[in-house]
């Protein structure tokens, strides 16, 4: 028996934002749009992202979507029914002529499907991409937190060693094996934040 204890599916704005960002990613990133002077696509993409989310997540009719977004019913329908594969082919240069499909609609549909399949559409937490975590030197912290999920605190050296083996900790340009750092910290460790702090101090000293 599945229990839903928190409101779901209602944050249309957040979902549309995600579809919008994913659409830009599919197009090669914001930088590519700047390079090709395609920034005029952005308003259409934003509109299409909302249409796709309202249609598929809030199950609104075309007339409801048109009223909500201030567009015509025909536009809402064109966006929602665009053939995404044809649009993708066009964007990648595989078609000489621009198809009749709503281009932004097709891209937003691809983005929506990708997010839906990966389960990212309903996830609320903010996620950083790999590049960002690398730059901020926090990849090790993310790894540590994911590996200690469900571990009871206070925790001892042995329990932590088993879970965290193999992680490389990068602090101020230096790289350390977590096993070495675990040798240098005091036990017991009372919680995740204390663990991160102790590891960081051990690496800095």
């Amino acid at each position: 028996m599945e229990i839903i204890a928190r409101p779901k599916g209602g944050n249309v704005d957040r979902m549309a934002e995600k579809v919008f960002m994913k659409s830009i990613e599919i197009l090669g990133g914001l930088k590519k749009l700047v390079e090709y002077r395609n920034l005029t696509w952005l308003p259409s993409l934003a509109e299409a992202a909302y249409v796709i989310v309202l249609r598929n997540e809030a199950l609104k009719t075309y007339s409801e979507i048109a009223r909500e977004l201030g567009i015509t019913e025909a536009t809402a329908k064109n966006i929602a029914t665009a053939d995404e594969m044809k649009v993708l082919e066009y964007v990648r240069g595989g078609l000489e002529e621009r198809p009749k499909e709503h281009v932004a609609g097709g891209i937003a549909k691809l983005a929506y499907k990708a997010l839906k399949e990966s389960g990212e559409l309903d996830v609320d937490e903010v996620s950083l991409n790999d590049e960002m975590t690398e730059i901020l030197e926090i990849a090790w912290a993310v790894q540590v937190l994911s590996k200690i999920k469900g571990l009871d605190f206070p925790a001892g050296k042995e329990q932590l060693g088993e879970r965290l083996a193999g992680i490389l900790v990068k602090v101020r340009g230096g790289e350390y094996r977590i096993e070495e750092l675990l040798e240098r910290i005091d036990y017991p460790v009372n919680g995740p934040s204390e663990l991160l702090h102790k590891l960081k101090m051990a690496a800095s000293s």
Partner: protein, 282 residues
């Protein structure tokens, strides 16, 4: 733009009339009339009408939740997905109640468990206080879990301290269930001061005008010698009754029936009140 239909156009859109079993004798009390040769015959529907939104009402402890849970277990055991919105009892308590019901009904609990999705509005202020958030969450559950039945126990809990909003909230929920093609059971609490034969008995606050039909559960305490003689029950006993107050989707039995809640916690409808009284007099 004005929109209208030629009646013929609606033929394909009209829902088929058949019964959705509740696991109680109430299933035989909804019927339709079919022509067989020269005569018309009464055919039991076998449940509440498909896609109906029914209001189950009564004063506290008349068996409304028992009925709703029995319906949920029956549907889930038959392989249909049920969305149960619990507003009064936290989800973990509902789990225990459904498990007991399933055992008493001889249902396969693993199957029942698999087919029921619960929205716990009892423990979430936002879901209970914000109807929009609840409806969005129900839409999510219906779409993702492919449910075909929705139970809200109780709808009254969504407007208990804002009764002026009752009609608006019930209307929103009703329209939502219609749009998402769900058969619905809305449990609503009636105040003890509202007499069972009055219009308020059907949920009060004109809620009954919105829904497709109302089932009224009632209980009578045997407290006078006259009651003892009439009902053949000892002083202090409780006589439970059920009646279909109205249903706009199909014909139904209009008698008041006597029922009991069995030791195992199931609704068992016994006989029409008139027959029951007659049998006791004899």
């Amino acid at each position: 733009m004005a929109r209208y239909y030629e009646l013929k156009e609606l033929e394909t859109k009209a829902p088929k009339l058949f019964g959705i079993p509740t696991g109680t004798k109430l299933d035989d009390m909804f019927y339709r009339i079919e022509r067989e040769g020269d005569r018309y015959v009464r055919k039991p529907l076998g449940g509440i009408p498909h896609l109906a939104v029914m209001n189950i009402t009564g004063v506290p402890d008349t068996g409304k939740s028992v009925f709703a849970e029995q319906f949920a277990v029956t549907q889930a055991n038959n392989g249909y997905r049920v969305l149960f919105v619990t507003v009064e009892s936290p989800a973990n308590f509902l789990y225990t109640a459904l498990k007991q019901k399933a055992e008493a009904m001889g249902a396969d609990f693993s199957r029942v468990e698999e087919n029921i999705v619960v929205i716990d509005a009892a423990e979430s202020d936002e879901l209970r206080e914000n109807v929009r958030a609840l409806i969005d969450t129900m839409a999510y559950a219906i779409r993702e879990k492919k449910t075909s039945n929705v139970i809200i126990d109780s709808i009254t809990g969504l407007y208990e301290h804002k009764e002026v909003m009752a009609r608006q909230i019930v209307r929103q929920v009703f329209n939502f269930l219609k749009k998402f093609r769900q058969t619905g059971i809305l449990v609503s609490q009636k105040r003890s001061a509202q007499a069972s034969e009055s219009a308020e008995a059907a949920g009060g606050l004109a809620v009954a005008h919105i829904v497709d039909g109302t089932i009224v559960l009632d209980k009578k305490l045997i407290e006078t010698r006259w009651d003892v003689n009439l009902y053949g029950l000892p002083l202090g006993e409780v006589l439970r009754t059920v009646r279909i107050d109205g249903c706009r989707l199909t014909a139904h039995d209009s008698k008041t029936w006597v029922f009991e809640i069995t030791e195992t916690g199931l609704v068992n409808i016994i006989s029409p009140l008139s027959d029951y009284v007659e049998s006791k007099i004899r």
